[in-house]
């Protein structure tokens, strides 16, 4: 086997100053399936976007078969034989499968598209690579896994020899994943090289030959898959021993503060992503939701916090139905919310730290002068206090938030939410992509808030986090609760894994205990 591709010391800095990749080396052997793993925000997608010509690296070089290449668009990458299947499909729903596949490389008859030959070409290709598909179907009518096949065929039609698959299994069922893996093995046999992005370690063990691990913008190692265990991989991915112990006393739960009663949610694509979920959270306890990402957790949180409306079902805070309340009214009932994605939802990047601290407090009398003017003195006093209390590293409270590191930005978000007058905290991925110091600090704050009598709902993709922090645990799979554990400290990680993967499922009675009646 020979080296087909080499990315040499790639650094990518986005305008605005986010360092997404720092001197990353990445190399591919011809005919291998190479896994690229790392937590969200580790820089995998950026690296692949550079390889596919969608982004230009700030520094570094790319070599294809030993020759330096310079790409300015995806078109260039395709011409060099590099294809990419995106996590979010890039297809035209109103066109047929065949039309989508030839789009941009049309076989023409005069000035018109030669539909018959497009269909023939599609058929031929789909038989050759054993990716069965009906070329005449419209893309809007076919299933997700078929759309994925269309994407793969599209890349192959353009002559891709290197195929980048960005989290291809995230949207598939276990059976579809099996099928995809068989097809990928076939592609490998026919001489294609595949880059497989995933954070599902067992998939990588099963499918891939080598893997590159990324953490916080760096490549932290290249290994042969059969030489490392899943534990090793996950340790390298998060950069520390996966067990971070937390001291906490046994919970003293009191009355129910949040009740979720039979909620369902059907997303824009008509898929039921939350199915009949019921549970409750009491004062003085942390209820954790464990599960592979994308199994309905985000939607549940968005429904509880008022950012989405449930298709069916009720959410009660302090016994009050909140389905028809605005976010502001829900917050006024005493709910704070640490959002999943701090950059997307948690901050206003160009505004100062102090202005970010008051986004849910600025209306209160405390911060106003003469009714409608903001009291800047009091605001900066509050900001200084929170910067100290939450250990935010910055020169001044007037600095724009985007100038802080990820961990410090998260501390600003946590500081704001934990300092508002609340007793119900919705905490989603509180420590994702931040440094160990900040992680420990934020986890301790969460336990402290519990001890002060808050009801806390915690969602985390970090299994260790959700197991050590939570007092009781809910496990989700495909939009429904598949397990409830009243005492999180008695759950074994392996056992939890089986529920998360949907192998095990508790009985209805057992699951109903989550309601705490």
């Amino acid at each position: 086997m020979s080296e087909i591709l080499k990315m040499d010391k790639i650094t990518k800095i986005y305008p605005g100053g986010v360092v997404a990749n720092y001197q990353v080396d990445f190399s591919l052997q011809e005919g291998e399936i190479h896994a690229l793993v790392g937590e969200n925000g580790a820089g995998k997608s950026t690296l692949m976007k550079i390889l596919f010509g969608m982004q230009k690296q700030t520094e570094g070089k790319i070599y294809l078969r030993g020759k330096e290449i310079n790409m300015n668009s995806s078109q260039d990458a395709l011409e060099l034989g590099i294809g990419m299947v995106h996590q979010h499909f890039m297809l035209v729903p109103s066109l047929t499968v065949a039309e989508n596949i030839v789009l941009g490389h049309e076989i023409k008859k005069g000035i018109f598209l030669d539909k018959t030959r497009a269909i023939e070409a599609t058929k031929e290709l789909s038989e050759k690579y054993n990716l069965p598909i009906n070329p005449k179907n419209k893309v809007q009518d076919i299933s997700v896994s078929q759309k994925q096949k269309v994407e793969i065929l599209k890349a192959l039609y353009r002559g891709a020899k290197i195929l980048i698959l960005d989290e291809p299994t995230a949207v598939l069922t276990p059976q579809e994943i099996e099928e995809l893996f068989e097809q990928l093995m076939l592609l490998k046999k026919s001489g294609h090289t595949i880059i497989f992005i995933s954070h599902k370690l067992h998939e990588i063990k099963k499918l891939c030959d080598r893997l590159t691990i990324m953490r916080d913008g760096l490549s932290v190692g290249v290994h042969n898959v059969n030489e490392v265990s899943e534990d090793d991989i996950s340790r390298l991915m998060v950069g520390r021993d996966v067990k971070l112990e937390i001291d906490k006393a046994k919970a003293q739960p009191k009355e129910v503060l949040l009740r979720v009663d039979g909620i369902n949610y059907i997303n824009d694509f008509g898929k039921a992503v939350v199915k009949n979920v019921s549970f409750s959270v009491r004062k003085g306890e942390i209820v954790g939701i464990a599960g592979v990402e994308g199994n309905g957790q985000s939607e549940i949180i968005e429904i509880i916090t008022g950012l989405k409306k449930a298709t069916k079902g009720k959410v009660l805070v302090h016994g009050k139905e909140i389905s028809n309340l605005s976010v502001r009214e829900i917050r006024e009932l005493g709910m704070a919310h640490i959002p999943e994605d701090r950059m997307h939802t948690g901050i206003a990047p160009n505004m100062s730290i102090e202005e970010n601290f008051i986004s849910e407090k600025y209306r209160s009398e405390e911060f106003s002068k003469n009714g409608y003017l903001l009291d800047n003195k009091k605001i900066s006093d509050l900001a200084k206090r929170l910067i100290r209390k939450f250990n935010v590293k910055t020169d001044s409270e007037k600095t724009a938030v985007k100038g802080l590191s990820g961990g410090n930005i998260q501390k600003v978000v946590v500081g704001r939410e934990f300092s508002s007058d609340t007793d119900l905290l919705i905490v989603n991925q509180p420590t994702r992509g931040i440094d160990v110091g900040a992680i420990e600090f934020i986890r301790k704050m969460i336990v402290k808030m519990r001890d002060e009598g808050n009801a806390i709902l915690l969602v985390s993709a970090d299994l260790n986090e959700v197991m050590t922090l939570s007092d009781s645990l809910i496990v989700m799979n495909s939009g429904e609760i598949v397990g409830y554990f009243p005492d999180a400290s008695k759950v074994m990680e392996k056992e939890l894994g089986l529920y998360m993967l949907g192998v095990n499922k508790q009985s209805e009675e057992e699951i109903r205990r989550a309601v705490n009646e």
């Binding site: 650094t11 800095i13 305008p15 605005g16 100053g17 986010v18 360092v19 720092y22 700030t58 916080d216 913008g217 916090t305 950012l307 605005s326 976010v327 502001r328 009214e329 829900i330 917050r331 006024e332 919310h337 959002p339 997307h344 939802t345 948690g346 901050i347 206003a348 990047p349 160009n350 505004m351 202005e355 008051i358 986004s359 849910e360 600025y362 209306r363 106003s368 409608y372 003017l373 903001l374 800047n376 590293k393 020169d395 100038g403 590191s405 990820g406 961990g407 440094d435 160990v436 110091g437």
Partner: protein, 363 residues
């Protein structure tokens, strides 16, 4: 270099970029003048120094600043919420029409008359200002497109009102009846036409600054503009913020129209719209949407205008040269990539330093 120093350096790049854009625009216009004028030095001299030759000319600069300030402020407010509406043009024009109507048909005491006109113009301007916002929120219609369309609608609607209700049939050109004498704003500088509208403009600059940077509403507008998802998540009613800020912006533009009428005119004479809103765009751009810098930007633009006017009157260069200067400036300032290389290089340095510091902190 400390990261604080580097970040101020980056801010300086933005200022430098604006200055260079202006210089390039001026150089290009000098080249055009040299290429077309028989007496290029004389032309350029008039263009650059004409406005400061006499108090009267300089006063012309200040007079022209007034409408530019109002539309500039309106666009600063609109753009703070990242809502790219150009409706201020329609608001300004209709403000002038409404004020003319009040000027002709109302009989009121001297000090009260223009104020009443401003109130009516402000309300109508505000109501027009929210239209693109409503269409955006209700039907996701692009505000840039709808506002441009509305500007035509209100331009012709305004002409209709003048033609059917205000037009003086005895005037030889397109003109309304004479305004009542009580409608005129007092002059504030003897020997010039500079009027009290200048003081009102200063007041509005201060009010707009306070509104954007010191009030709860301004905080909401800036939050919506910076990250609308964050605003929603924080419980800010984003639709309300967009509508209310558009109303205020429209009202400011409408009042500007009324002031222009009562300060500078005795009849309504605009058969083509003066399009102050486009000037407002470049003022907001130069001022980076901060009212604090609006007077500076308005002065600059108005100085160029008057200079070009004087050049065209005295020498052989048309004052359309101003459109070229303005176009080049808008192009260069709006083009994010212009001089981005240096800025990017500094930004990259800063980002790398921060990244490596964060790494060190962890260890």
């Amino acid at each position: 270099m400390s990261s604080l120093k580097l970040s101020t350096k980056i801010n300086k790049y933005d200022t430098l970029r604006t200055v260079i854009a202006i210089l390039i625009a001026l150089i290009i216009s000098a080249i055009i003048i040299f290429a077309t004028s028989e007496t290029p030095i004389y032309s350029i001299n008039n263009f650059l120094f004409g406005p400061i030759q006499k108090l009267k000319y300089f006063s012309n600069v200040l007079e022209m600043m007034i409408p530019l300030t109002f539309t500039g402020l309106a666009l600063c407010i609109i753009y703070q919420s990242k809502h790219f509406s150009l409706i201020a043009d329609g608001c300004f024009f209709m403000g002038a029409i409404v004020a003319s109507y009040v000027a002709i048909n109302f009989t009121l005491p001297k000090a009260i008359h223009p104020v009443v006109a401003m109130i009516f113009s402000g309300i109508i301007g505000g109501c027009i200002g929210v239209l693109p916002g409503i269409l955006k929120i209700k039907w996701k219609a692009n505000e840039l497109v709808t506002s441009l369309m509305f500007n035509y609608v209100f331009y012709f609607f305004g002409l209709y009102i003048v033609n059917y209700y205000l037009r003086d049939p005895e005037a030889s050109v397109f003109a309304s009846y004479r305004f009542n004498k009580s409608f005129a704003l007092p002059r504030i500088l003897p020997g010039t036409r500079l009027h009290a509208g200048f003081l009102i403009a200063i007041l509005f600059i201060i009010l707009a600054y306070i509104y954007i940077y010191k009030t709860k509403w301004g905080y909401e507008i800036r939050t919506v503009g910076d990250n609308i998802n964050f605003a929603k998540y924080s419980g800010i009613n984003t639709a309300k913020v967009i509508i209310s800020s558009q109303f205020i912006a429209g009202a400011v533009a409408g009042i500007g129209g009324a002031i222009e009428m009562s300060g500078m005119y005795k009849r309504f004479l605009w058969d083509v719209t003066p399009s102050y809103a486009w000037d407002g765009v470049i003022i907001a751009l130069l001022a980076k949407n901060n009212p604090k810098y609006v007077p500076l930007a308005a002065f600059f633009l108005s100085y160029l205008r008057i200079g070009a006017d004087m050049m065209s009157r005295r020498a052989d260069v048309d004052n359309e040269i101003i459109s070229i200067i303005q176009a080049v400036m808008i192009l260069l300032i709006a083009a994010e990539r212009f001089l981005a290389y240096w800025k990017q290089r500094e930004e990259n340095k800063l980002a790398k330093e921060k990244y490596l510091n964060a790494k060190k902190e962890v260890q």
